[in-house]
Each structure stands twice: as structure tokens, then as C-alpha cells.
């Protein structure tokens, strides 16, 4: 399997990369970890005339705290997310998610930026970013802008990113101390995309849900933010009847394809099962005054 020929570029700065991509237009693609793009190129489903490798740009790497936010460079790998003590402490949901993506070899090279920018509904991080209320830093020839993850995804492989723009990093508001979290993913085997998956962040006060955020993976053309389910759960004690209503509301916004992972109806139900489990586990992890 040999990809179509292309010209390789390795810029040293974001400005240089953006200038190149602006000049190349539709004939250029940014290369991050390559573990979505290169398989597509081998199958000739993608044949860009130019690849702009972002690996030489040091400022795209790393995890740091910035005030109340955590900022993660786009070229930070899944492996680096797993190894980050700062993330393990502040946003353990990311580590839990990364550990369920692909396999060890893929995680050494696959990047957060590639995962969120690709627009593949099978990618896990987009729904997690919606759940966390993250925003993406994007640089183009007209300068920088910030796009909320919840506004970024428009369709399969269709995002708010415009030709010539590079997603340079992800900014995540640090969840409240003591929050509960979970990413529950049903997959057929290691390395598979989700049949369905659910991300949950939860805070509780006096035995009731104070705030709740939910994202769903691979059960529509885009990742889903389950706002109605969140509204139902907020203020509740997470009793069985309320969870059932919230799960029904989450299932109602799904529209999964029927494919090798199962019929659409099954995948919708599995989204509900994953959400139920994620809520249960997130609740068990709540610490501080919210816990019983």
C-alpha cells in the first residue's frame, strides 16, 4: 500500500506552517501524528499534493496551567496525556479517555490536535472536549481565533476549521476540585472505534447534582452534547427514575449509522447503557462535600 506522491514540508513555526497552508490551499494538508491521515493516504482515500508536518514546531507541544484553564498543545500525543501528572490531578477524564484510544503504538504518535481536528465521528476526544466545555485555538493567515468545541463539529469530517487554518491547541476550563468523571466506551476489540461511548463530568452538593456535563461519541455524524439529559439530571439525587429519563433524552438525540458495529437501534441503546454506567462511576468518584 503506497500513497500517492506528495511534497513534504517541515516548517519550524506556526507562522511558517500557516503561510504554507494558505499558499497551498486545497492541495495541502497538515500532518500531525498521521494515524488517521496516513492510513487514508495508503488507501488513496486522501491524496494531498503537499504534507505540512507540524512535528518540527516546538510551541505546539506540552500541557500547562494558565489561570483557571489547562492548555494543551495540539501536537501533544495521547501517550503524553496519559503520562501528564498535571492532567491526572486536574482532568483525570483525559487520561481515562486516552487509555481507551487505539493501542500503545498508536498512542505514542497520535495527537490530541489531530484527534479533535479531524472531524471523524469515531474519534473519542471531540465528545470529551464538548463535555469539558473546551475551546480550540486556531491560527490562520488572518490571525488567531477561538472556537468552542460545542460549535466546532458540523458533519462527518466537516468542521469549523477553514482551509489554511491550523488548530494549535486546546483550552479546557479546569473542572471543580472533587468532581466525578468517567468515559465509558463500548468497543469490539482493542483499537476499534466506539460502538457507542459516553463522557460525564459531575459535581454534587448535599447529595444532589450541582452540575453535570455529557458528551456522546460515534452515535451521529458529529459528537453530541447531551444538554437535555444534563438539564434533567441537574438538581436530582441521581435516582433511578431520573437517570432513566435522562438516558431516554440522550438516546433521543442520537442517529447512529447501521454498520459492522451493529444496527443503529442497538448503538442508540448502547449509548444509553454507556451513559448509565458513566453516571454511576462518575458519582462514585465525587469527593468532598458532594459525596455522601
Amino acid at each position: 500500500m503506497i500513497p500517492a506522491a506528495f511534497t513534504y514540508h517541515r516548517p519550524k513555526s506556526i507562522q511558517e506552517a500557516v503561510a504554507l497552508l494558505a499558499k497551498l490551499g486545497d492541495n495541502g494538508r497538515a500532518l500531525a501524528g498521521g494515524h488517521s491521515l496516513i492510513p487514508m493516504m495508503k488507501l488513496r482515500l486522501a491524496a494531498p499534493g503537499n504534507l505540512v508536518d507540524l512535528a518540527g514546531i516546538g510551541e505546539l507541544k506540552g500541557v500547562r496551567a494558565d489561570g483557571n484553564d489547562i492548555v494543551i498543545g495540539a501536537m501533544t500525543t495521547q501517550h503524553e496525556l496519559i503520562e501528564s501528572n498535571l492532567l491526572a490531578d486536574k482532568i483525570p477524564l483525559l487520561r481515562e479517555t486516552s487509555l481507551q484510544i487505539a493501542d500503545p503504538q498508536v498512542r505514542y504518535l497520535g495527537t490530541l490536535g489531530g484527534n479533535v481536528a479531524n472531524g471523524d465521528p469515531g474519534n473519542d476526544m471531540p465528545a470529551v472536549m464538548m463535555c469539558l466545555g473546551a475551546s480550540y485555538n486556531v491560527t490562520g493567515k488572518n490571525g488567531e481565533r477561538r472556537i468552542a468545541a460545542r460549535d466546532f463539529y458540523q458533519g462527518a469530517y466537516l468542521t469549523a476549521l477553514e482551509t489554511g487554518e491550523v488548530l494549535t491547541g486546546v483550552r479546557i476550563p479546569t473542572p471543580a476540585a472533587g468532581h466525578g468523571w468517567a468515559y465509558e466506551k463500548l468497543k469490539r476489540k482493542v483499537g476499534d472505534y466506539a460502538t457507542a461511548a459516553a463522557a460525564v463530568i459531575l459535581t454534587m452538593k448535599g447529595g444532589k447534582v450541582e452540575s453535570c456535563s455529557i458528551g456522546l461519541t460515534n452515535v451521529a455524524d458529529t459528537p453530541l452534547w447531551a444538554q437535555e439529559a444534563e438539564r434533567i439530571l441537574t438538581g436530582s439525587t441521581l435516582d433511578a427514575a431520573t437517570i432513566k429519563r435522562a438516558v431516554a433524552a440522550a438516546e433521543a438525540i442520537t442517529s447512529p449509522a447501521s454498520d459492522a458495529r451493529g444496527p443503529g437501534q442497538y448503538r442508540t441503546k448502547m449509548a444509553g447503557v454507556m451513559l448509565t454506567r458513566a453516571l454511576d462511576r462518575a458519582k462514585s468518584r465525587v469527593r468532598g462535600q458532594g459525596s455522601e
Binding site: 511534497t7 498521521g34 494515524h35 504518535l109
Partner: protein, 166 residues
């Protein structure tokens, strides 16, 4: 298409070469350097037979272009044995514990296990299974591969190898 000049280190030796940008690392290693230890299995980044060690990471060399490895330090199965030519503890483990049958996955398995044991000197069985989850074996059912890696970990730690109770 113009070729790119790359310089890298492979199994401790400096290598300079001209490559087409679209040349995958696995093809470069096998066809240009005659290092045929890393195997081409699925070619779709699933099976792990092409695994090599690159700058301290286990990577599937079918899913990275040789130009991306410019400046890298790479180790393939050909560079795993000890400097004096004796088998590395992991290789010895695969022999002693019958960690292979047809042998096709073995170079990738050993190269992956090499990095796993660099990062975790005393992995549990579960950690070994999770650590090699990107490498497929269609013969052994993995039991003896896990035992081989446990054997190697014990040997590298200077500890006696004790098989887990059945």
C-alpha cells in the same frame, strides 16, 4: 517527485539516504537497508508486526513516512541482541517459554516488549497484556508470550522467574 535526504541512526549506526517522501518507514527499512526483521503484516496499523523503537517510542513503521524519521534513533529486532551477540533477555524468554509458533509476529512483539520493560521494569500480567495489545498473534493465544515477557523481566531484574499458579 524530488527525493529528500534523511540522516538517522539505525541500530547504533549512522545512516544517510535519499527517500521519496511517500516511502513508508517499513519499506525504507526492509527495501533500502535490508532490515527484514520488521514484518509487513496488515499494513493498516492494526497488527504490530512492523513495530520498531523510534526515539524511545514503540511505533508501527507502516504508519509513518521515512522522512518523518529524519534525525531519529531507531532500533529494530536486528539491534535487540546484546553487544556480545548473546540473546537479549526478551529473546531468551521467547525461546525458553515457547513464545512463538510461526514467528511472524515475534520481531514486533519483542521490540514492543523491549520498550514496555524500559518503561515498567516489573509489569503485572495485566500490564503486559495491555502493553502488547497493539500486537496481534494468531498462533499462541498469547499465554506463552506473556510468560516470555515475565521471564525477561525477572532476568533483567536479577530475580528468579516464578510462574504464576495456574
Amino acid at each position: 517527485m524530488a527525493k529528500s535526504q534523511i540522516e538517522l541512526k539505525v541500530n547504533g549506526k549512522n545512516v544517510e539516504a535519499l527517500v521519496e517522501p511517500r516511502t513508508l518507514l517499513i519499506h525504507f527499512l526492509r527495501d533500502q537497508l535490508n532490515l527484514t526483521g520488521p514484518h509487513i503484516g496488515c499494513e493498516t496499523s492494526h497488527c504490530g508486526a512492523c513495530t520498531v523503537d523510534l526515539d524511545g517510542k514503540s511505533v508501527k513503521s507502516c504508519t509513518i513516512f521515512a522522512v518523518q524519521a529524519n534525525g531519529a534513533d531507531i532500533r529494530t529486532i536486528e539491534g535487540i541482541a546484546n553487544a556480545d551477540g548473546t540473546l537479549h533477555a526478551i529473546q531468551e524468554g521467547f525461546r525458553e517459554m515457547h513464545g512463538l509458533q510461526c514467528g511472524f509476529c515475534t520481531p514486533g512483539m519483542i521490540t514492543r516488549a523491549y520498550r514496555l520493560l524500559q518503561e515498567n521494569k516489573n509489569p503485572s500480567e495485566e500490564e503486559i497484556r495491555f502493553g502488547i495489545s497493539g500486537n496481534l498473534c494468531r498462533c499462541t493465544g498469547y499465554q506463552n508470550i506473556v510468560r516470555a515477557i515475565q521471564f525477561a523481566a525477572a532476568k533483567l531484574n536479577g530475580a528468579p522467574f516464578q510462574e504464576a499458579a495456574e
